[in-house]
Symmetry: C2
Subunit: 141 residues, 2 copies
DNA sequence: CTTGCCCTTGACCCGTGGGTCAGGGATTAG
DNA sequence: CTAATCCCTGACCCACGGGTCAAGGGCAAG
């Protein structure tokens, strides 16, 4: 299967597939004798996992870090024997996921603070609850 | 006052000041006969307001859109007569602030969803509560 | 006058996840 | 055989808020 079809099959673009490959997220697929990428069904399975995890909020870098385990993850069939199974990851390398969750939490908190500060400035009656952080700048990490 | 001192006075760098000016956020300051920027105390006041608002989470673009009103805002003294006064903006052009708050809210919600999805995948016992959005990708706009 | 710091503009760098050419080869249908 | 698609690599583009470097000119003190 060539790149265009593979991309379409997982809802991506050829560019994205080459990009994942370049970032070490995907094992380089076989090539036809003319040099065109040729994706096997197994490759597609890994690709689907990658897209899934990216969709879940993991970054390309996160996945590059656990690229070696992705084929294993992809090899796991949907397991109809256990419908109560976890969302799907769980095996992925929980450390990565945990770190990403922590990063998301931190970002959410930062944005929430910014929003509240803005809202406090906007609202004429913050009932003296507002924290009034005087130091104006330094809002980005 | 030359750019280095002005920058130091508001806790920024010369580069940042030139950047604000270039983005139309700051009125171009006077120049010495040799072409060096010369900041007046009024310029500094505007600068401080800009830094404050950026620190509150407004973007450079937001401020460029209301650049004309910033000097007015800067001209308002701290008003010791009304210690219950709003955070400081309020006058800024509430529409901009409201839009930024809405954008922040949207981003916060998006990140929260991502985090929850990740957490659901991590946690082996989501008690069949998990939404299972099968369409994997398309998480960033 | 010279030294040393400050200022000028312009241009490229960061990270994220690719999009969009550009120029050339491969594959496939008619 | 030819034309229409597809694919290849490499390179530059987006937003954000500046950081950093380069080459050249200004400014004050000794």
């Amino acid at each position: 299967m060539r790149i265009g079809d593979a991309a379409a099959a997982v809802g991506a673009t050829p560019r994205a597939l080459r990009f994942y490959e370049q970032r070490g997220l995907l094992p380089p697929p076989r090539r036809t004798k003319a040099g065109q990428r040729d994706y096997t069904p197994e490759d597609l399975a890994v690709l689907r996992v990658v897209r899934h995890l990216l969709g879940l909020g993991l970054t390309v870098e996160d996945l590059a870090g656990i690229a070696d385990r992705l084929p294993l993850l992809a090899a796991q069939p949907p397991r109809p024997c256990d419908p109560e199974a976890p969302g799907e990851p769980a095996v992925v390398g929980t450390a990565v996921v945990r770190r990403r969750i922590a990063a998301l939490d931190a970002e959410i908190e930062r944005l929430t603070r910014l929003r509240d500060a803005l809202r406090a400035g906007l609202d004429p009656a913050p009932r003296r609850v507002t924290a009034r952080a005087h130091p104006p700048a330094s809002a980005g990490r």
